[in-house]
């Protein structure tokens, strides 16, 4: 089946920063993004879990964005500006997509 090169950007970011990140992404002209829940995690700032949590202060989400390679740099710059001073992880990997016209 005919597929096309694309980039998969996955950002694990604090839940409180989610809307700021997605706004930045829309700035960068992404055609879409999806937000996945993260239940728990561990890192240099210790372990955490969402179990029994009421507040939004603790916890991360994963924002996934599939984009065409030419938009990558702009997206990374805009996304990084949001994440920079916060904890979180930005990864980029190659992938192939169907229906390239959508990205």
């Amino acid at each position: 089946m005919q597929t096309h090169q694309a980039k998969r950007v996955a950002v694990i970011i604090e839940a409180v920063m989610q809307s700021r990140l997605t706004d930045a992404m829309e700035d960068a002209g992404v055609t879409g993004y999806s937000i996945l829940p993260v239940l728990a995690g561990g890192g240099r700032s210790g372990r955490w879990t969402r179990e029994g949590q009421v507040g939004r202060g603790q916890g991360m989400v994963q924002v996934i964005c599939i984009i065409s390679p030419d938009k990558l740099d702009d997206l990374l710059n805009k996304a990084f500006a949001v994440v920079e001073s916060h904890i979180g992880v930005i990864t980029v990997s190659d992938c192939e997509v169907l229906r390239a016209e959508r990205f």
Partner: protein, 326 residues
Amino acid sequence: MEGMLALAADNLLSPIILFFALGVAAAFARSDLSIPEAVAKGMSIYLLFAIGFKGGASVADHGIDATLVLSLFAGLILSFAIPILAFALLRVMTGLSVTDAAAVAGHYGSISIVTFVAATSVATASGLTTEGYMVAVAAVMEAPAILSALWLIARFDKGAAQMDGTLIREILLNGSIVLLVGSFLIGCITGAEGLDLIAPFIVTPFQGVLCLFLLDMGLVAGRGLREARGVLKPGLFLFGVLMPVIGSSLGLVAGLLLGLSTGGVMLFMTLSASASYIAVPAAMRVALPEANPSIYLTLSLGVTFPFNLTLGIPLYLAVATALTGG
């Protein structure tokens, strides 16, 4: 004094405190007991909905008066002022950085709604009536402290805080404020009639839900304390039990000046003594990412909350009773 000890004693054996203790114990023993996030959120929505509505209904009952407006104003002032006091205290008592100190200070100017609810239960159990609008005072006190904290940063550590319009909106239209105020207003509008309609949901089962919610808080607090062992230095711990007492005394003064009932004074003391662990931490993560969350979370949820729940509330009640001659 004696009466107070007796009160403290059977307060310590009240179901809500025992369930909080159960949660802490389970967390320390690393039991896998846990309450789903959605259920915990559901219970906190229930509590805000219930106390907001009940407060409003009782205002509808007793009518609005000047004291209401003055109380809201007093709450506003206290929420702005307490962080500054707390900040000063932290700088002298502890080695916290400006950022961490400001972040912690913000929590103490704001309030813990569950502490407020627990105090209300104790007041009712001791046959005191309380001003229904204290719920509105609680709502008013949630946000200003955050602004104080950010101001402290701007003042003492130029430009560290990341403040923007979105953040201000998030702080003021915080979900719990909106639900508390909204339910309060709806309670005011629908009054006794509305209350009769939903009392079987928000009044009779209330204490039971509160027990389960405190179990959850115990689990979260216990987990936090376990994770943050290192963080809790003696100076910090001392602050965590001293600050509520200081805060409560400010609340006491305000309550007396306002001429509130014994129950009202006690609640004002409790509000000033309590520290936020929901609204403020979230705001701090956005505005002060460098501040170490395990410090303010451990202090507010792991030290000050249990202190108020166990010793603070009976103390505030005793003092309020003594000084209002109630």
